[in-house]
């Protein structure tokens, strides 16, 4: 920011004011607010637990041990965080272009469905098989999300509603496929009874993601590295490239974008497609990393958790990495809750509370920052 500090000598009558900074006390206040609102969120969850006769302390201890307490737990956290991060990145891209994609659950399912179809059909070395699964899953997710773009940009239908409705259609497409022997339904030995929840055949080993670490009871797959790598790439693309610049312009002022020759429909539908592609890829990573087959209810809330992770990250792209790890940890922690006799569904409530707890103080910080700026340089009369 040093370049910004022009001196009057350099630039005629320009008044140089130091770059805007809030006093430290403001940041401390926001920090305190963040701690307080997190405490309030945890308090709400504790209240919920106490009311239903569980011990909050036991639950929180179980959550911590279950998410970071052992190598098994850490592996679970990271394996969950990978797909969550991918979904969050996609959600972020859409949000930057001014669109809210909430159809990740469906996009994950459709991505995984086509991924498993390809993975079962090809017989190739691991590298190629994985590449094909990933590419197909991403393409399928992108196409599924693009249905909403078509409605948005040719018919004016809100993408918030259409992406959501498409989730339920997507689930039925998956269900249809795994219930048809001539499609993807599992081949069962002659005479055996169909399982209650139909599923596809498992992927051959060539379709499994490479293992990063392995031990008794755990296997860390490389999904998290793929996701973190893509996060870094995407953060660079958004901040530094023409594409990222145009995307943000469209998101903030579509008319100004059009004036400078950028088509909001083109950029927006591209963003929604990329958003769907990342969710589809998350489906592919889930498939090749941990699940190895597709069944009814495959997406299992990964879509929602990724979306929430993106909301927590807000305007800071790379903040999706820690926030996805947090949501991965919550998910891993919920896995061991059943052993304590408490329903793991409490985690769903905690996740939503975390989003509220993080969003409010940041909103406050942004407003203070803007106000400080305005006081420094005069008011914009809008």
């Amino acid at each position: 920011m040093t370049a910004a500090e022009t001196t009057p000598e350099q630039s005629g009558t320009t008044v140089a004011v130091r770059p805007p900074r809030l006093p430290l006390s403001e940041y401390l206040r926001v920090g305190a607010l963040l701690v307080a609102s997190m405490a309030a969120a945890i308090g709400c969850a504790a209240l919920l637990l106490s009311v239903t006769g569980s011990s909050p302390a036991t639950v929180f201890r179980a959550m911590v041990t279950g998410s970071v307490g052992s190598r098994v737990a850490l592996t679970a956290t990271l394996n969950h965080a990978g797909p969550i991060l991918l979904v969050a990145l996609g959600a972020l891209v859409a949000t930057r272009s001014g669109l809210l994609n909430i159809g990740q659950e469906g996009q994950i399912s459709i991505g995984a469905l086509f991924g498993v179809a390809v993975g079962l059909a090809v017989q190739a070395p691991r590298g190629i098989t994985l590449l094909l699964i990933g590419a197909t899953a991403a393409a399928a997710g992108a196409l599924w999300a693009s249905l909403a773009s078509v409605l948005r940009f040719t018919r004016g239908g809100s993408e918030v509603i259409t992406t959501l409705l498409l989730n339920f259609v997507g689930f039925q497409v998956v269900s249809f496929a795994v219930n048809r022997p001539w499609l993807l339904q599992e081949d069962l030995p002659e005479g055996s009874i169909l399982s209650a929840s139909p599923q596809s055949n498992p992927l051959p080993p060539a379709g499994h993601l490479p293992t990063l670490a392995q031990g008794p009871g755990f296997r860390l797959n490389s999904g998290i590295t793929v996701a973190v790598g893509l996060a870094l790439v995407l953060a660079f693309l958004l901040a530094r490239t023409r594409w990222g610049f145009e995307l943000r312009t469209v998101g903030l002022n579509p008319r100004a974008a059009r004036r400078s020759g950028v088509s909001p429909a083109r950029v927006g539908s591209g963003a929604l497609a990329l958003s769907g592609a990342l969710a589809g890829l998350a489906g592919g990573v889930l498939l090749s990393g941990t699940a190895f087959r597709v069944n009814d209810g495959f997406s299992n809330n990964y879509g929602w958790e990724g979306l929430l992770a993106a909301l927590v990250a807000g305007s800071v792209t790379l903040a999706v990495i820690p926030s996805s790890l947090l949501f991965g940890a919550l998910r891993a922690g919920s896995g061991v809750l059943a052993a304590t006799g408490v329903s793991p569904t409490i985690v769903g409530a905690v996740q939503a509370l975390v989003v509220i707890a993080v969003t409010l103080p940041l909103l406050y910080l942004n407003r203070r920052r803007l106000r400080a700026l305005v006081q420094r340089t005069g008011v914009s009369r809008t």
């Binding site: 018919r155 918030v160 509603i161 409705l165 339920f168 259609v169 269900s175 249809f176 939503a352 803007l370």
Partner: protein
């Protein structure tokens, strides 16, 4: 054959009623320029609260009232987050929906309950009309609220000062502001009204229609209600027609297999959602939406 038709009409109307309660509230909220997606969360929370309330009090009526109250509480949170401190209204709604799913699923797993269901009420005479008699005049008690609510919403939108101001706020908030109408206050009130009706809808679903609570039992009905408002071109009659259409789609899903018609179950389950998407595709541009729908209003920076 007549019996079958009667059956389908009856179940269409019953399902449509759930949608219509929520859609009436959403219609009012959207006329004021808010697109309130937490209607889903409000329905789900109130469905649970009504079920639990009826179990705790032993009365379907008290349960119903408790459910409605919870619906209003959800809308209070939504309105004050989105139209007081101005967090994006979709984000607010989304988080509330997820919170509602999380809390209700958790409570359901932890709490044992036996909800009390409203009994059937039959209006003598009218209920004997062929085909539509059962559907319109023999239903669970809260259903009959519709006979008051539909005219009430008509009156609110067409005749009342409050409705006039809501319309102004939804069409041109700047002009409304210049006329001294407090824009955000009216929008919050419209959301409260939406919460009241979403509460009725959810409570009717659990202690009226079904008589039980199941995890995520609203299954996006709140969004189908929003789609019905869009389908109806933001008019009252269109909204009623939209809920009947979507109710009919779901009724077919339930009743066709019972009638021996074999259609792929997945297609049937997806039918209401596909119908809603089709409605948006066909109708969202042909009808005029409130000009300021989904936009925040501010006189300047705050």
């Amino acid at each position: 054959m007549i019996d079958n038709i009667t059956l389908i009409v009856d179940s269409s109307v019953r399902i449509a009623a759930t949608l219509l309660f929520a859609a009436l509230g959403e219609l009012v909220a959207e006329r004021a320029g808010t697109l309130n997606i937490s209607v889903e969360g409000a329905m789900l929370s109130s469905a649970f609260a009504a079920a639990y309330g009826s179990h705790a009090t032993g009365s379907a009526y008290y349960g119903f009232l408790i459910g409605v109250a919870v619906g209003i509480v959800v809308s209070l949170v939504q309105a004050n987050l989105s139209h007081r401190i101005r967090i994006n209204q979709f984000v607010t709604g989304l988080v509330l929906n997820l919170l509602a799913i999380g809390v209700t699923s958790f409570l359901l797993a932890e709490v044992k309950m036996a909800p009390v269901q409203f009994g059937l009420v039959r209006i003598p005479g009218l209920a004997s009309i062929p085909i539509i008699g059962d559907a319109l005049f023999e239903q669970r008690a809260p259903f009959f609220l519709l006979y008051g609510l539909v005219p009430l919403v008509w009156w609110v939108l067409k005749r009342s000062r409050w409705g006039l101001e809501l319309n102004a706020v939804g069409e041109n908030p700047t002009a409304a502001d210049a006329n001294g109408i407090p824009v955000d206050v009216r929008r919050r009130q419209a959301i409260y009204f939406g919460g009241l009706l979403a509460g009725i809808s959810g409570a009717y679903l659990s202690v009226g229609l079904i008589g039980a609570f199941t995890p995520n039992m609203t299954a996006l009905r709140g969004f189908i209600a929003i789609a019905a408002v869009i389908f109806g071109g933001w008019t009252l009659s269109g909204t009623v027609a939209g809920t009947l259409l979507f109710g009919g789609a779901e009724a077919l899903r339930v009743s066709l297999p019972a009638l021996g018609v074999t259609i792929t179950p997945q297609v049937l389950i997806a039918l209401p959602y596909l119908a809603a998407i089709a409605a948006i595709a066909v109708l969202s541009q042909r009808r005029r939406q409130p000009a300021a729908l989904g936009q925040t209003f501010g006189r300047g920076i705050s």
